[in-house]
């Protein structure tokens, strides 16, 4: 191992005289603080240090491991909770106590635990990178053991049985020995065979997303919003209810207490599809805002690599990154310590390239082993001052196809999820149309379009109302306003904290829209037949729509509401005569 010595220390960055390659991992000082080479200048290299540098002196020894920042991949990842560089937080607690001090090392996987390995490949098989040679049950997930991407050969030995992640389960004629665990550098995407079109929706259980702004499996979405608009609650709802098989939740520079909430809440929740605890499919990365800034920068890559590993097994993975702005700020902070010339607002000029590189790792793929898997990424963005023109939001918008804009006006009136339906968009709407009409309802898309156009028309009408008051509107428009109100208050609002309303299946979402439009049809018809607007907008049965979201047996209720509506309108007609 090559060694050198520290020349300068300033904050999370140190300069050392050391022979190194870019992105080599180095150990700094007596406490062996973990660092990464991020700039080379003559015989000096600049190191970002993943731990607090208080007390570090010039002259301290630096040793170069010669390897890039890598993480351990193997059974035991699920249900784990890591810091930004894959150190399990419970292990850090056991070593250091309640506060995270420095110089602790903890491997990402448990190296003592034995796993039941069932070989599916046999002696003599020709295998190459990605090939599945056996399985391990990791909770309810069938964890596939794969040949690491860069290895290949003929199997000379393979056996089922009970192994730790370090023990050899399979030998190849190339001399390679395969263990349950492999290592992979986080900044390098894991190889795949080819990218597939994202034509299957990621069902989120959130009405506004599934209907108006759907996300595809393998798609990328950004949720920008000022503070207090509900980014984290939305991210958490998605992590809880979306129909991915594996969830990687990256808490990047966020609040400690919020991570605690996730940690206490997730074990209590059950997956509505499998009935098993939601935590069993989840990996959490928690690098809170006061943990070292360099580890924050690494945390999103760490999360993405974990996701790619499960994708390689053929799973659909969703990555929640909360928040990518904190990651960008970490880049800015390091960049300014490097005294690089800044781009916009002090962010480094390579900000948008890094953002694009990161989001491009998402997608639906055909893997090396011929399975199909996907990674969907949902990145929260915290624009400074709520200003969407700032560099991180803009850099993100250039690469994502789904834009869910959180609106502080809506949040203030407690309209949640506070997604602005006029500014948000999804470019997956067309490609997913086929799936929805085949799997939910034939007329899914026309219904969605109708709801959307009513909401858009409302916006225009409200402008007029602002000027002249609602009584001055033509009668038909007054009815439109009422339909839009139903769509907003009853349909779009969803209570993340209510046991039933927190998850709305596509069928429910569809029936809900359909009933609201039914009211619209009846109302316009009645108007045409000469009924009074005040009667039409004040019929009682439609107010019961508010109860639908809280109702498990929603179909029965919706049917009875439709019946009541019809009879009320009939009565209106006969009263007139």
């Amino acid at each position: 191992m090559k060694t050198g010595k520290v020349y300068r220390v300033a904050g999370p960055v140190a300069v050392a005289e050391l022979d190194a390659r870019m992105f080599d991992i180095v150990l700094v000082g007596e406490e062996k603080l973990l660092g990464e080479v991020i700039q080379i200048n003559g015989n000096k290299c600049t190191i970002q240090i993943y731990e607090d540098t208080t007390g570090l002196k010039p002259g301290a020894t630096v040793s170069n491991t010669g390897e890039p920042l890598s993480i351990e991949l193997g059974p035991g990842l699920l249900t784990s909770i890591y810091d930004g560089i894959q150190r399990p937080l419970p292990d850090l607690k056991a070593q250091l106590g309640d506060f995270i001090k420095r110089g602790a090392t903890a491997p990402g996987l448990n190296h003592e635990k034995k796993w039941e390995f069932k070989a599916t490949a046999k002696k003599g098989d020709d295998v190459s990178g990605g090939k599945i040679i056996g399985t391990v049950m990791e909770g309810q997930i069938n964890h596939k053991i794969m040949i690491p991407p860069n290895k290949k050969g003929k199997i000379t030995e393979i056996s089922s049985g009970s192994f730790t992640v370090d023990e050899i389960v399979c030998k190849l004629d190339s001399g390679d020995k395969i263990k349950l665990m492999q290592k992979w550098p986080v900044r390098t995407p894991r190889p795949t065979s080819k990218k597939l079109p994202p034509n299957i929706p990621l069902i989120t259980g959130q009405r506004i997303f599934d209907s108006l702004f759907p996300l595809a499996k393998g798609g990328v979405a950004a949720i920008p919003g000022g503070f207090g608009t509900g980014k984290t609650v939305t991210q958490q709802s998605l992590a809880k209810w979306c129909d991915a098989e594996i969830i990687v939740y990256v808490g990047c520079g966020e609040r400690g207490n919020e991570m605690t909430e996730v940690l206490t809440e997730f074990p209590k929740l059950t997956d509505p599809r499998t009935g098993k605890p939601l935590l069993n499919r989840t990996i959490l990365i928690a690098n809170t805002s006061n943990m070292p800034v360099a580890a924050r920068e690494a945390s999103v890559y760490c999360g993405m690599t974990l996701a790619e590993y499960y994708r390689d097994m053929g799973y659909n993975v969703a990555v929640m990154a909360d928040s990518t702005s904190r990651w960008a700020e970490a880049m800015r902070e390091i960049s300014s310590r490097l005294e690089e010339l800044p781009g916009e607002e002090g962010y480094p000029a390579y900000l948008s390239t890094r953002l694009a590189d990161f989001y491009e790792r998402a997608g639906r793929y055909s893997n090396l082993n011929k399975t199909d898997g996907s990674i969907s990424v949902i990145g929260a963005v915290s624009p400074a001052g709520g200003d969407m023109s700032e560099p991180v939001t803009q850099g993100t918008l250039r690469v994502v196809k789904c834009f869910w804009r959180l609106d502080s006006k809506l949040a203030q009136r407690r309209h949640f999820p506070a997604i602005n339906w006029l500014d948000s968009y999804s470019l997956y709407l067309d490609i997913l149309e086929k799936w929805f009409s085949a799997n939910v309802a034939e007329d899914w898309r026309p219904i969605v379009d109708k709801i959307m156009s009513i909401l858009q028309e409302e916006e225009k009408l409200l402008e007029i109302v602002q000027l002249v008051g609602s009584d001055a509107l033509p009668e038909k428009e007054q009815v439109t306003l009422e339909i839009a109100r139903l769509a907003r208050e009853m349909f779009l609002q969803q209570n993340a904290f209510h046991a039933v309303d927190t998850f709305s299946e596509p069928k429910k979402t569809y029936s809900f829209m359909k009933t609201i439009l039914k009211y619209g049809d009846l109302a316009y018809k009645a108007l045409g037949e000469g009924s009074k607007v005040s009667d039409i907008v004040s019929i009682k049965s439609k107010e019961k729509l508010a109860d639908v979201k809280f109702e498990k047996e929603y179909e029965k209720l919706l049917n009875s509401i439709v019946k009541e509506m019809e009879s009320e309108f009939r009565k209106m007609k006969s009263d007139k005569k």
């Binding site: 904050g11 540098t53 909770i81 506060f99 995270i100 400690g256 700020e329 902070e333 300014s336």
Partner: protein, 455 residues
Amino acid sequence: MKEYKTISRVAGPLVFVKKTEPVAYSDMVKVLMPNGEEKNAQVLDTSEETVVVQVFEGTAGIDLNSRIKFLNQPIKLPVSEELLGRILSGSGKPIDSGPELVADKMMDITGAAINPYSRGNPEDFIQTGVSTIDAMNTLVRGQKLPIFSASGLPHNEIALQIARQAKVVGKESNFAIVFAAMGITNEEAQRFIQDFEQTGALERSSVFLNLASDPAVERLLTPQLALTAAEYLAFEKDMHVLVILTDMTNYCESLREIGSAREEIPGRRGYPGYMYTTLANIYERAGMIKGKKGSITQLPILTMIGDDITHPIPDLTGYITEGQIVLDRELHRRNIYPPIDVLPSLSRLMNLGIGDKKTREDHKQVSDQLYAFYAEGKDLRGLVAIVGEESLSERDRKLLKFASEFENKFVKQSKSEDRNISKTLDIGWKLLSDISESELGRISPELRKKYYGRR
């Protein structure tokens, strides 16, 4: 310990020292001036050739003949339970004519991050007796909830009222207050101290004072010291500590001053790019720890420059803290105390601390309903200005009336009025009862039946 006489440059609050033995980053430094005076400083940047130190008491009087002593250890605070009842300077020296601090132990003031896995869930409702906070933006133990104020608004009165009245109903509590003043005026500081004295809270308080006339750089130390004291009291002495930090805006200005003296590339509005991390290191030192009895609840106060909530200081703060209490000049002008504008205010931990057995079963829904009506009513004011009240519908007129009743009966209360949560919610119901029952869409039918129109 060696002393160096190799100062090469003095600029603003920074002193540059040439050729020294290896000096550790962030260590404590003393600057000895020819007249015998001593100043405290800290290492900001260290290399084999130059060491940069920031001087907390300002660099006035330092010359090339001054000597530098590296103490070879980080800055520490002597802590013991005797910190309570004491008034200290912004750099932790007694200024109340009491004895020197006795050290039970010395604690590093930087403070490490609490392992998220060790954190306890904050869920104990703190009743502040202020309706707008208790009902609408509930404070819980272990939370950090800043007051976003602006010059001329009564943030200090509100902070004091909270400090006086805050309690966890039905729980015996071993409480303490840690008060850290950064660059506030002597008059304001006196108000706090007098109030603490009158209510007897001073005995349970530890006061750190950096006044407007004190050196600006010293302010960078004050919250660190205060929070170190708070951590000791909370996590080693089992106390429930309320930390009041005022005024964070002054703190950030000092941060900017250091940044520009170091010729760093500035971020937004000249504030350093690492301000988010620095603020997070302060605010995140709140919370509870599993298995420990104590807690730290933070009530930072900041004045929004030009009443602008998108200014970097409130903006970054809002992204770190668990909500914010926003004061409004318009309400203040109309003589409504406390002038808390509930619409932009928020408590992120509210849902953990309320509901049946904690406050009352109807709490969440009443609060949501009040929010929705007040937002709508306030919007209508704009419309009325254009079209006049006559052209409003019956419902809109009611909402308009609701908004002003809400401000006058719910928001407004006296500086000494300690409303319990039940009373607060009852006032809420009374206001809601002026609107027809079927309009209360945010409240479930069962609760409506139980509370609506009840006398």
